[in-house]
Symmetry: C2
Subunit: 404 residues, 2 copies
């Protein structure tokens, strides 16, 4: 497994593009992205569990029902959600892309991100389709990654190279997400591509399994978006014998997928709205996986823990408090807590009670950009990690007047 | 039902006191409170559902097991939670109060609020007991209300006068709470007193029923405290025939209780850490009470809704989003949303989709101190209200470095 560059274009036969078409007022901001495979691909997706679903999700779900797709079209600046004409607009977007690419609209996945409840004007998208197609290139992942950003401060790309049946394969992706992130079965917008050959069924199995330990373990603000979606296309151009059963090759594919998604998770959490720090909560010693995940997410989601981390304050009582209300059946008298970062590691709570520690050293550890909150429940062998970020003035600023 | 003053001393035979004993460094801040009934009283309490429970809660639970108590001792500045010697310290606090008052320690309820995981020094409490007793007075509710404050900016008192069996009764209380507020079966610290005669059993029934529609519907930051507790003492000095069954008099008592607790709820939410606005979410048209409550709390708890209200931004999409992930089985295509305040009312969403509205008028409405978010689910007759506050820079500031 080798880290490579190229994002959503790392895999053979995938072109990408991103242009400014005019949905956003800021003309320097790309707002329309396209990802295209040279040939039809196996496709799978997972969607937000929010009952309010963006119109593009409904249309994408319909189009991916046959397990096939060839292109992904995505705009930022408007979520096309809670609009009476939403589904119609989403369908017309697919038609526009299909016409441009000479494929059928049913092979287009569509996504939108941005403000909810404001009609999405089709005109700039229609006008932008030709420039978008002109921008398509085998090394333009970054353009697409930039075009799907909302309040993100950095474009998010990752990719790996791996081997299946003697053939060199690639898997890569781009992601956007900064606020309204608290996934529940899927998350944010993530587009993944691979040249590995794999059946739609196993592709879906791989994706839906992977998100449980990756994107579903990321929280920025506890708000599950209406437009979260993860889409993966596998075009088979690597030439491996297609993966059609859960054998060792499937395991290799899962590992490649997980390597990319884990990186994207860390990028998403670290770029959470207003964030100054990436927080990881690693829970060990849980009686089972569900407990480990519940505890890790509760700690990562606590506003008080997040604010304490912003202040580099080793207020471990808030960690214990979050574990206590997580809903997990934990023996709080057995819990150990430690903080770790590039500056070192410090134990602050043993058997559910405080122990003396150096506040100065703790401060030094917590002033780093990436902080690990380590929890040991001493009840078993299961473990889990969740990712989040600190709660800052800028989060409030960004979200106090988002629409204007 | 008449609003009166007097707080926890509004009822006959209740004295209160609050002094600075030295738990806090700031010598102008009272940090030790005492409430005493002239005679033994029926007593009931509800406690946080957090698995991590402050030591005082465990001791209070033990002391109230017989349904009787005569005094409540509470300190602020230190929660006496997650300390190895916590239970012992809490018991010794009861003993100190009992010795001072000439009663048995088992008739003392004890509470603590403040930082978690730092040992509570008994010395200042022991030294403060005599001054505390000297401060006891029949009109000193405010001293006690001030002594239990942490990050609260205002002392919280409420009281009513009502009639039971021809006798004039009173019920009043004090509350503290500003952060770490997301009650689950109980909340914050609330001490209630009444001179009505009522059995311990019915007193407990009244309290545990009432909190479900009052304190359990308040959220400041989604963090369920380890030390939340609501205690009520009923000393019977009003002379009414004791309420011992669920008759009309019990209903009158419930109404008196609810009037006081509702006022305290609004004060708690309005004084949430860093808050500039009190938010009320009123859900109507729900198929059942549980759905109404789930939806109301999800809206009130959403960080994005809270931040939008801070910015006076009519971003109703976030309200719909919160309803969608609340977990309630709602038909999102039927939902109406409106904002209301002293400046007027504006409808912003109809049948789950946006409708045109004046942004200027919406802004005017949302710039008031008290905002009502009105949701109609159009599915039935049940309704519920939840209280919260906006999310502000100051919340982050207060909680970024709470311990120092």
């Amino acid at each position: 497994m080798k880290q490579i560059t190229g994002g959503v274009c790392a895999a053979q036969g995938f072109k990408a593009a991103g242009v400014h078409c005019g949905i956003r007022k800021n003309q320097t901001k790309r707002d329309l992205a396209l990802i295209v495979s040279d040939c039809p691909a196996s496709a799978a997706a997972v969607y937000t569990t929010n009952l309010v679903k963006g119109a593009p999700l409904l249309v994408t779900k319909e189009h991916l029902a046959d397990g096939k797709a060839q292109a992904i079209l995505c705009n930022s600046g408007n979520a096309n959600t809670c609009n009476a004409d939403g589904p119609q607009i989403a369908k017309e977007m697919c038609q526009l892309a299909a016409d441009q690419l000479g494929i059928v609209p049913e092979d287009v996945a569509v996504a939108s991100t941005g403000v909810i409840g404001q009609p999405l004007n089709l005109a700039p998208i229609a006008a932008g389709m030709a420039p978008l197609a002109a921008d398509l290139g085998y090394d333009n992942s970054l353009h697409a990654a930039m075009a799907i950003m909302t309040t993100d401060t950095i474009a998010k790309e990752a990719a790996v190279e791996f081997t299946l049946g003697g053939k060199t394969c690639h898997l890569g992706g781009i992601a956007k997400g900064s606020g309204m992130i608290h996934p529940n079965m899927a998350t944010m917008l993530v587009f993944l591509t691979t040249d590995a050959a794999i059946s739609s069924e196993l592709l879906h199995k791989a994706l839906s399994t992977d998100v449980q330990s990756t994107f579903n373990m990321v929280s920025v603000d506890g708000d599950t978006s209406t437009n979260d979606m993860v889409v993966i296309l596998a075009n088979g151009l690597a030439g491996n014998a297609p993966v059609t059963e859960e054998n060792e090759e499937f395991a290799v594919f899962m590992k490649a997928l997980n390597t990319v998604t884990m990186q994207l998770c860390r990028m998403l959490a670290g770029d959470g709205e207003g964030a100054t720090r990436l927080l990881e909560c690693r829970v060990q010693g849980a009686p089972d996986l569900a407990t480990a995940r519940t505890v890790a997410k509760a700690v990562i989601c606590s506003s008080l823990v997040k604010a304490a981390m912003f202040g580099a304050d080793a207020n471990w009582g808030r960690v214990l408090c979050a574990i206590g209300y997580s809903g997990a059946a934990v023996d709080v008298q057995k819990v150990d807590v430690a903080f770790a970062s590039a500056a070192g590691r410090i134990e602050v709570c043993k058997d559910g009670a405080g122990i003396p520690f150096s506040e100065e050293y703790a401060k030094e550890i917590l002033l780093k950009d990436e902080i690990e909150i380590q929890v040991n429940l001493h009840m078993g062998e299961a473990e889990s990690t969740a990712w989040g970020c600190d709660l800052t003035y800028d989060y409030v600023k960004i979200n106090g007047d988002y629409r204007t």
